[in-house]
């Protein structure tokens, strides 16, 4: 098989070939490593490439498969891991200078689960410093770039994971999502990403950003590939105090279930308001596609939704500043300017601001739970705009009005984060400049399965996810 064909394989397709011996994990891994060597000079999606370790693991995987020991769909699959997730013996910087020499003695639970499933870890991906930001314009490890146009940003904070998956320098990746850090880069890089319900996937041995909102999850080119990874990493972990003892369904088996009769809510004056025209058009077209599959679309009012950005900024300011309190006093000069400023600001809020923001979360959650008596999921764009130029701190959404990037980027993804709900980002088209647009689908607590079904059905009816950047 030609190299290009190998790189375009989905996890599902590669897994089938690997299982029957038609593809070697060594060949697949080597192809991916060579692709990294060629395109990552431009993209800077990786902080650390684990070439030798990956080759060794791939050789072991090949021996096992040849001997008849196939561990499942991730066995021999090249996977990347965001650099705030512990990898035993491999530097884990969280995109920071402060942790630049940190080599964990343990894996994160999610890393352990991927390794046990036979995944080949090819590297640690670039990210916004300490995950506190949405651009992956990293001052210590370099600016990460979008494979659809390297002059544009890959969003963040899991920008390296998003760019790596889209650029075919891995078949899937792990990211982390606090206020949107998986869904934002999934959207602007034209791939799929899921933020799970808090407690569904272990956060053990993951460098925190905001404890009450942090999650870990997969990013891949198809919903099916996300499901294959999610099925491995989801489930109770006694090492994580926030881990939920909720059974994990057989997502893959449910994936093909018809979506006819499912109900999707569009939030009045919110879901399609204040977005770039191309984004609104793409999401409206995606809703029509879902309707053509038998999904019912209903408009629902949600009066409490205004206020979400302030609540998110308050919580996402206070909690990181608590975690970073000591370093901000002893190693302030080692932070990048934007993160240092945000951490300083986080020390300036009152306790009442923080607690009112947490009370707001209760209101928002109740309103969503009430909405879920009428619909099975809600739809919004993932971002109100497509990828902006690297380094931009302002963005124009409509009426030639410049807005602050940090607030604008949170417009849609902050809501499920605050309400503790799962949310999937799926590619639904491109703007006139060829930049991807993503749609966010928000689900009931612990009902990631319905999001996967909707996303999979949508991908079955469209081909956006099959397009590759011309890099």
């Amino acid at each position: 098989m030609a190299r290009t064909d190998l790189l375009n394989l989905t996890i599902s397709e590669a897994a089938a070939l690997l299982e029957r011996g038609a593809l070697s994990p060594v060949e697949l891994t080597e192809t991916v490593l060579q692709r990294i060597a060629v395109v990552d000079k431009t993209l800077n999606a990786y902080i650390t490439v684990c070439g030798e370790q990956a080759r060794e693991v791939a050789r072991a995987a090949e021996k096992m498969i040849r001997a008849g020991y196939h561990l499942g769909p991730l066995h021999g699959i090249p996977i990347a891991i965001k650099d705030n997730i512990y990898t035993r013996g491999v530097r884990t910087t969280a995109g920071s200078k402060i942790l630049s020499d940190f080599i964990p003695a343990e894996d994160a639970t999610v890393t352990t689960r991927l390794k046990r499933a036979g995944a080949v870890i090819v590297g640690k991906t670039n990210m916004h410093e300490f995950a506190w930001g949405g651009t992956t314009d990293n001052p210590h490890y370099g600016t990460c770039r979008n494979p659809w146009n390297p002059e544009r940003f890959p969003a963040g904070s899991s920008g390296g994971s998003g760019a790596a998956v889209a650029a075919r320098t891995c078949l899937g990746a792990l990211g982390t999502d606090t206020g949107g850090s998986i869904r934002l880069p999934s959207s602007v890089n034209g791939i799929v990403g899921i933020r799970p319900t808090i407690g569904r996937v272990s956060n053990h041995n993951v460098v925190p950003l905001a404890w009450t909102m942090d999650t870990v999850s997969p990013m891949a080119r198809t919903v099916e590939d996300c499901v294959l990874m999610f099925g491995i990493i989801a489930g109770y972990d006694p090492l994580d105090d926030h881990s939920a003892q909720v059974p994990v369904p057989h997502y893959l088996g449910d994936l093909a279930r018809a979506v006819r009769g499912l109900r999707v809510g569009v939030i009045r004056d919110y879901s399609l308001a204040h977005v770039q025209r191309a984004v609104g058009d793409a999401v409206r077209a995606a809703l029509e596609t879902l309707e053509s599959l038998g999904v019912e679309v209903e408009e629902i009012a949600m009066p409490s939704i205004q206020g979400n950005i302030s609540a998110q900024l308050t919580i996402e300011s206070c909690e990181p500043s608590t975690f970073h309190q000591e370093w901000l006093r002893t190693r302030a000069a080692d932070y990048g300017e934007d993160v240092r400023t945000l951490l300083e600001l986080g020390e300036m809020y009152l306790a009442t601001h923080y607690l009112q923001a947490q009370r707001y979360r209760s209101v928002l959650r109740k309103e969503f739970l009430e909405g879920f008596t009428r619909v099975d999921a809600f739809v919004t764009p993932t971002l109100p705009f497509t990828a902006t130029p690297c380094g931009a701190t302002k963005v124009v959404i409509e009426n030639n009005q410049e807005e602050d990037m940090l607030s604008a980027i949170m417009q849609f993804t902050g809501v499920p984060s605050l309400a503790g709900l799962p949310a999937l980002s799926v590619p639904v088209g491109f703007d006139a400049e060829g930049l991807p647009v993503g749609m966010q689908v928000i689900g009931r607590p612990f009902d990631e399965g319905t999001l996967f079904r909707l996303g999979h059905a949508y991908q079955g009816a469209t081909d956006w996810h099959t397009r590759a950047p011309g890099l």
């Binding site: 300011s317 006093r329 809020y349």
Partner: protein, 66 residues
């Protein structure tokens, strides 16, 4: 309630003292416009949460809820 006054540099000085955060003067000054916007938004949210209909609402600081 009166409109939000911009945050004064003296307020940031006091907050730094309270937090035992030794920020140089130029960094304190840089925080003024940003903090003014953030605090105004946070106060607006606080006013919203003071609504009588929300009196029974308690904060969620732990997910999943138990």
């Amino acid at each position: 309630m009166a409109p939000q006054e911009p945050v004064a540099i003296e307020s940031i000085d006091r907050l730094c003292t309270l937090a035992n955060l030794p920020l140089p003067a130029e960094r304190r000054a840089r925080l003024v416009p940003m903090l003014s916007g953030l605090v105004a938004a946070a106060n607006e949210l606080s006013r919203k949460m003071a609504h009588a209909g929300y009196r029974a609402i308690v904060p969620i600081v732990r997910f999943p809820e138990r």
